[in-house]
């Protein structure tokens, strides 16, 4: 893989995000708006799952992951739009390998995912959330967010493989986004049944680990590292499947 090609392609993806108002709204305004809404709606409501905290504070770790999962839709729609514009074929006619191309998507979105999660965290801190864990906790949280971003790119690639147009990709991505939103974010610890279902969603492991990190658990807590291991395996499986499926349909 050539670094020059990858850097050039990563820059393209990042420029697309900040130059396109829709993409910018999804990556930035959506998590900001959601955090603010949760603060005003749940800032004074005692938490169902965390003693002595507001439900807003309880939801912050899940919201950080939730901000990332919309990347599935963005990646899928973006790739379908490139396909419709003939850009994928054009890129294929250059000496750029599918791995360099899709690798650049993963790298660009990894940065974006971590950024989105940290925006939610920063805003929550401004609104009164007091996370524990210090800098090591923040670094570990960023790793979780990065892995979730990689998983989201993989799911985006799978969606783009199936979807015939960017419009279809938007709807189809909800197959992944909605269960992750409901079970992985908001109902993860509602009861044992929802927790069991939630274990099938990648962002559950982010919600679970970040909740532990920010609520003062030791960073050597076995559950955190177990979550990290499971999320790493999920992200690898999903992204490899996504790359293989997309490569098979779009690249020779």
């Amino acid at each position: 893989m050539k670094t020059q090609k990858m850097i050039a392609l990563v820059k393209v993806e990042l420029k697309k995000l900040y130059r396109d108002p829709t993409s910018l709204a999804v990556i930035l305004l959506m998590p900001v708006a959601l955090t603010v809404v949760f603060y005003f709606a749940l800032g004074n409501v005692p938490s169902w799952g965390l003693e002595g905290a507001s439900h807003f504070e309880f939801l912050v770790p899940g919201t950080m992951g939730y901000a990332v999962i919309y990347m599935i839709m963005l990646v899928a729609m973006g790739l379908c739009a490139y396909r419709e514009a003939g850009l994928l074929k054009r890129l294929e006619s250059t000496p750029t390998s599918p791995y360099e191309y899709m690798g650049s998507h993963i790298i660009a979105n990894l940065f974006v995912g971590v950024f989105q999660g940290l925006v939610v965290l920063l805003l929550s801190v401004i609104l009164g959330f007091r996370p524990q864990g210090g800098l090591p906790g923040l670094v570990l949280a960023s790793i979780f967010l990065g892995l979730l971003a990689v998983t989201s790119v993989g799911l985006g690639l799978i969606t783009a493989t199936i979807a015939k147009s960017s419009g279809a990709a938007s709807g189809l991505s909800m197959i992944f986004v909605i269960p992750m939103m409901i079970f992985g974010t908001f109902l993860a610890v509602f009861n044992e049944m929802t927790r069991t279902i939630a274990r099938f969603t990648p962002n559950y492991y982010v919600t679970d680990a970040l909740s532990l990190i920010f609520n003062g658990a030791s960073l050597s807590d076995r559950i955190i590292w177990q979550d990290l291991l499971i999320l790493t395996i999920i992200s690898l499986v999903v992204v490899v499947a996504g790359i293989q499926l997309f490569k098979k349909t779009e690249f020779r």
């Binding site: 050539k2 020059q4 090609k5 850097i7 050039a8 392609l9 393209v12 420029k15 697309k16 130059r19 396109d20 514009a85 003939g86 850009l87 074929k89 054009r90 890129l91 294929e92 006619s93 250059t94 000496p95 750029t96 390998s97 020779r252």
Partner: protein, 255 residues
């Protein structure tokens, strides 16, 4: 306008018994063709004749169903990575990143060909200046007219200074002035010893630019020669008349 010159004798592109099936449809049907190094070869044919499919196979975008194709001695089914380093492709549709500026689009494709940064900057500046595109290059492609997108499409193919260039209907949608300037630019590429494969629906374009012309229909080569040679052979006043005679006759035969 007279752009022609005598190309060198060595074959740069060698196509032998090439076939491409899409289910029951044979888009390319036993095409055999040699294109010489330094030659500007016009590939003509009615819509659906197999021109774009042939170019797609040569660029590694489609796998042939049968037959062989070599570019610079390299097999398109085995050495496509090395071939892609030597070719520039201007696709039929203006495939550009609309959220990037013209210059950013051009430089992206230079980076994808691993060009040296300094060389890329210089070549990009020269190319934009030659095409009279420097002023527009700083603006996002989203605001370009159809003709400007076409110009950019061509410049993106040329940034890596490729030895072999595939131009698939490069001037569609350009106004007469820009089209004429683009023809002059394409003609100037021949002086740089580039091998150019041009498909076009503007027969006048093929007549004035091409050293040789191949006319294909139903995926088969139906005639081949210099524009003058074809006009003499078919007792026609121009290449358009030749084209209509040959392809019209085939339609009549087929019906």
């Amino acid at each position: 306008m007279e752009y022609k010159r005598i190309p060198q004798a060595r074959n740069e592109i060698v196509i032998k018994d090439l076939v491409k099936d899409f289910g029951d449809v044979k888009a390319v049907n036993g095409l055999t063709l040699d294109i010489r190094k330094g030659e500007l070869f016009g590939l003509l044919g009615p819509n659906g004749a197999g021109k774009t499919t042939t170019i797609s196979i040569l660029c590694g975008l489609l796998a042939p169903s049968a037959g062989t194709a070599h570019i610079g001695g390299l097999d398109v089914t085995k050495d496509i990575s090395r071939i892609k380093e030597r070719i520039g492709v201007c696709p039929q549709e203006a495939a550009v990143f609309k959220f990037l500026t013209g210059k950013e689009n051009i430089e992206l494709f230079g980076n994808l060909h691993s060009m040296d940064k300094q060389v890329l900057r210089e070549r990009s500046t020269d190319l934009l200046s030659q095409a009279n595109f420097s002023e527009a290059a700083g603006r996002k492609a989203k605001g370009y007219s159809g003709g400007m997108l076409r110009q950019l499409n061509l410049l993106m193919a040329m940034i890596s200074d490729p030895e072999i260039v595939f131009l698939d209907e490069p001037t569609v949608g350009m106004d007469a002035r820009v089209r004429r300037r683009t023809w002059e630019y394409i003609a100037s590429l021949k002086d740089q010893d580039k091998t150019i494969v041009l498909t076009t629906h503007y027969i006048e374009e093929a007549e004035s630019l091409s050293d040789r012309v191949g006319i294909i229909d139903y995926g088969e080569l139906i005639d081949l020669g210099t524009p003058e040679g074809l006009m003499r052979k078919h007792e026609s006043k121009d290449l358009e008349e030749v084209f209509l005679k040959i392809t019209g006759r085939r339609i009549a035969e087929g019906s």
